[in-house]
Symmetry: C2
Subunit: 165 residues, 2 copies
């Protein structure tokens, strides 16, 4: 089973928009959010929807099962989400042979823009675009699960260095 190797960064400025595709709007909620397993439901504004079960504590040791489900059922399931239903538009940006996924959050996290790049191996060294800022790989505050479950804030996440631990 494929394992995920990803690096995650905050995005600075608006320059990335020149290179982005049209984007797809996503709503996602967690039906289950535990330390070692989660069940996520997602709807996409292109009409498809999926249910994703992740089991395992770290991305490198995680098993992931994904099932397409019908959008109406998925929308109904979102009402049972624990915490916040996240809203974001996901764009793809090609840069020097790598595909970056740029997530622009709406709703409670409006203002937050995060870029992820998926690597074939940990030795991969993608060229970092100039619109990419601070790296937040492994920072749990930027995991979607943590964002969905965290207590409401008045704006986007605190600055990366304003919290310890």
């Amino acid at each position: 089973m494929a394992k995920e190797i990803e690096r995650k960064f905050l995005v600075s400025g608006e320059h990335w928009r020149h290179f982005a595709d049209a984007g797809v709007a996503i709503k996602q909620g967690y039906l289950v959010a535990m330390d070692d397993r989660s069940l996520r439901v997602r709807t996409y504004d292109d009409g498809h929807a999926c249910l994703t079960l992740k089991i395992g504590k770290t991305a490198l040791s995680r098993d992931e099962y994904e099932f397409d489900i019908d959008a109406e059922t998925a929308t109904d399931m979102l009402h049972h989400a624990v915490g916040t239903v996240l809203e974001k538009v996901r764009y793809e940006v090609e840069h020097e042979g790598f595909t970056w996924e740029v997530d622009e959050y709406g709703g409670r996290y409006s203002g937050l823009v995060v870029a992820e790049v998926e690597l074939d191996s940990e030795a991969d060294l993608p060229k970092i675009p100039d619109w990419v800022g601070h790296e937040v790989t492994g920072d749990d505050r930027y995991s979607n699960q943590a964002m969905a479950l965290s207590a409401a804030t008045t704006g986007p996440l605190d600055e990366p260095h304003s919290q310890s631990g």
Copy 2:
């Protein structure tokens, strides 16, 4: 969404077998087992498999989502079950206009045979077959989720009246 109304009984003797169909062998495990939601994976020996999410604390207020999945994926998912993977053969027995499901457990619960009848309304009064014994409707010890999670015992469940609470 349809809500379940079921009555559950212990089965005494072997007489029911004369009226039963060929039965289907089921393995089922819980990937998530929480107070108000559960995720169950089941394989059937006829080759099909399903994933069932139940949300809500009581059968009468529960939403249930069921998805057919491929059997190979389901078998892989059973390795992630919490607690025991339950094994049972499910038979159907017609009796006086009602269909009884008789579950004969194997593995750790070998010796336990439970019959369930589904009702259209709580006012339904099915005629109880003579092979049906003590009623255990609402007795959590006979819920499959509780059986999967309970600590190992040396045999089938204790006698219905040997525990209080």
